[in-house]
């Protein structure tokens, strides 16, 4: 960070200024003039929190995608299908057993198993053939999407969170001050906050595992030079299968999360595939911190866009992508 500040003093200044303005907007009680100009603070804060929690969901989906791509150069355009599959599995588990928490491990294991099948049967046969992988996984996603439509129908499914997580939670953000001087605090759905915290934990754990453990060291070595690593006796294919299973499992978990705060329906697979594409393009391929940054940016852009300029919300997301590509084609945190 210090090196970045030394190399780009102007950018650092701009980023610091933007962060300060954002912090002031979040914590300060807004003066009347500002409320007249851009609407009430409650709307702003809600959009902000929705954006951040949506970013958490995008991060869960995109981090699996970026992990698989970054480590194995495997292009898995069936990632959205894995997400949707996780959502359906989560719905059935939560609905039939009544335990919401049980949906997560089951979705992780089942979707992870699908990931293993994909890696063993598809990707291992076409290592290094980008285009063929893309085409085959597009084919797989078409087939899987139709099979899921066949199996689960076109209905919307919603996974209900348990009692202790439903309902709003008081936060310490002041949205307004009443005429008698009493501050009004913002309320926010508990489940979203918990899920966001969980995705932060997952992200940090992933970063630590990659950078501080032996397995992580092997994975990073495999990215740099696969042949040399296997020559030292490491069982590289096993590592790859493991990473693929983990990335796919994350997509499955994300499906359960998505089913809890939004709905699960046909077509969501493509939406989340696109979201993860945009997130990793913005953040930088193969970088976990990049996926986190990209997911936050895109989540915030989508929510603020839909509140403040509803017609052009998509265009805002797209503009971010275009700007990043134009000035930094490798992504914000990408190498090279």
């Amino acid at each position: 960070m210090r090196a970045f500040a030394r190399r780009h003093p102007v950018w650092t200044g701009i980023i610091a200024l933007a962060a300060a303005v954002a912090l002031w907007l979040i914590f300060a009680v807004w003066p009347d003039g500002l409320e007249d100009a851009i609407g009430r603070k409650k709307v702003f804060l809600n959009a902000f929190f929705n954006g951040i929690t949506l970013g958490g969901l995008y991060f869960l989906v995109a981090s699996g995608f970026t992990l698989i791509f970054g480590l194995m150069r495997n292009v898995n355009l069936a990632h959205g299908s894995l997400y949707l599959l996780g959502g359906y599995i989560g719905y059935y588990v939560a609905d039939s057993t009544g335990y919401w928490l049980l949906a997560f491990p089951v979705a992780f294991v089942v979707v992870g198993f699908f990931g293993i099948l994909l890696q063993m049967l598809v990707f291992r046969r076409m290592e290094g053939e980008d285009l063929r992988q893309t085409l085959v996984t597009i084919g797989i996603s078409i087939v899987v999407a139709d099979l899921m439509l066949w199996g689960f129908g076109g209905d919307f499914y919603n996974i209900n969170p348990p009692e202790w997580l439903s309902g709003p939670m008081d936060t310490f953000f002041v949205t307004a001050v009443k005429s008698n001087g009493e501050a009004v605090y913002m309320k926010y759905p508990m489940v979203r906050i918990v899920i966001f915290a969980a995705s932060v934990v997952v992200g940090v754990a992933m970063w630590l595992a990659l950078n501080r453990t032996r397995i992580g060291m092997m994975i990073r070595a495999g990215v740099d030079d696969r042949d040399m690593l296997s020559a030292t006796g490491a069982r590289i294919q096993l590592v790859f299968v493991g990473v693929f299973a983990f990335g796919a499992g994350l997509a499955g978990i994300a499906g359960v999360v998505g089913g809890t705060f939004q709905t699960i329906a046909p077509g969501e697979d493509i939406r989340f595939l696109l979201a993860s594409l945009v997130v990793v393009i913005v953040g930088g391929m193969g970088s976990i911190p990049g996926a986190a940054l990209g997911a936050l940016l895109i989540g915030l852009a989508e929510q603020f866009g839909s509140v403040y300029f509803p017609t052009y919300a998509v265009v805002l997301t797209f503009l971010i992508m275009v700007t990043v590509l134009a000035f930094r084609p490798q992504g914000l945190m990408g190498q090279g």
Partner: protein, 349 residues
């Protein structure tokens, strides 16, 4: 370098018209006389649609086969041209449609499409390989959502209906025979244009850029300019296809430029084969046949007509899994194996 030792090819003294193989003549004659016996449905729906989808897929084949850039935004360019014709020309939504005459609308729509595609291409060529696919997919999705949400210009979810071709020379160009010849003409024009461009200096340089961008850059060719120009040329083909598509269904809506059609174009081009411009038309013909008759086949198998995507997806999967070059690749493999002597494994003479 290798070519130096090779003896110069014998001069072919025949006229150019004599060098065309007999199979081509047969194909031309068949295509020209089809309207004399085919039904209106076959002409308008099957062949018209084949030529249109083939033309749009041809633009992808040009980019992918000669430029090495697989773009999923070709349907977006086609849809953009269709939208421009609907917005600038006449449609049932007369609050938005300008109703300008066709000789302004069509060239203007194509020019705008080319400009749009050039901008997209300039953005997309900053990336390579798989990234190109991703960014063009993202652009296609953004355009789809934009047209669906924007009511001022693109009329949102409904889109435009009653977008009809002009009554030129007193012919109703949506009549089955007229539309058949119209689409056949443009498909053939696109096919020969791609063949010509591929052998022109620009096409050769583009293929050089595909094979080795660094060497081409060292030779003094602008890699970026060639790639962006390829997008512009491909968008012209896609734009013509898009206008014809809009006329065929007489409407344009966000559904035309959704993700599924964009992927369908990729499926068509890849299944047909990206090596030769005839590939997309073969792929389109198969796709249209499947789309038209698969329901009957599925019902006969007792599966229900809505499993169409399963059939398409499985077919696509099998083809890309076993033959990355599509049906053209399968054909070449078959020919090579028939020419090989099974005992010695050498080519037969």
């Amino acid at each position: 370098m290798v070519a130096i030792d090779r003896p110069a090819p014998r001069e072919d003294s025949r006229m150019w018209i004599e060098k065309i193989p007999a199979a081509y003549w047969a194909l031309v004659v068949i295509l020209l006389v089809i309207p004399s016996f085919a039904s209106d449905f076959v002409m308008f729906q099957i062949f018209g649609w084949t030529f249109i989808l083939g033309l749009i897929a041809l633009s992808l084949m040009f980019l992918g086969g000669y430029g090495g850039m697989v773009s999923l935004a070709q349907m977006t360019f086609a849809g953009f041209a269709g939208y421009m014709v609907a917005i600038l020309g006449a449609s049932a939504i007369d609050t938005i449609s300008q109703g300008w005459p066709w000789w302004v609308v069509i060239p203007l729509a194509l020019i705008l499409t080319v400009i749009f595609a050039t901008a997209v291409g300039w953005l997309a060529v900053r990336t390579e390989g798989i990234y190109t696919i991703m960014i063009t997919l993202a652009i296609a999705a953004a355009f789809f959502y934009f047209t669906r949400q924007n009511y001022d210009v693109f009329n949102g979810f409904q889109g435009f209906n009653s977008v009809l071709p002009p009554r030129l020379f007193g012919v109703d160009w949506r009549g089955p025979e007229a539309f058949y010849y119209l689409t056949l003409f443009w498909a053939a024009a696109g096919y020969f244009a791609v063949l010509y461009v591929a052998r022109a200096p620009f096409g050769l340089a583009l293929q050089g850029v595909r094979d080795n961008p660094r060497r081409m850059a060292a030779l003094g060719y602008s890699v970026t300019a060639h790639r962006v120009a390829a997008y512009s040329f491909a968008a012209l083909l896609a734009g013509i296809g898009g206008i014809l598509l809009t006329w065929q269904s007489a409407q344009i809506s966000p559904g035309t430029v959704a993700i599924q059609p964009a992927i369908d174009i990729l499926v068509i081009a890849v299944v047909g084969g990206l090596r030769h411009p005839i590939g997309p038309f073969i792929g389109a013909f198969l796709y249209v046949l499947l789309k038209t008759f698969a329901v009957d086949v599925l019902v006969a198998l007792g599966l229900g007509g809505e499993r169409f995507n399963l059939l398409i997806g499985l077919g696509f999967l099998v083809i890309v899994f076993f033959s990355p070059d599509g049906i053209l690749g399968l054909w070449e493999k078959l020919r090579a194996s028939r020419n090989r002597d099974p005992l010695t494994g050498r080519e037969r003479h």
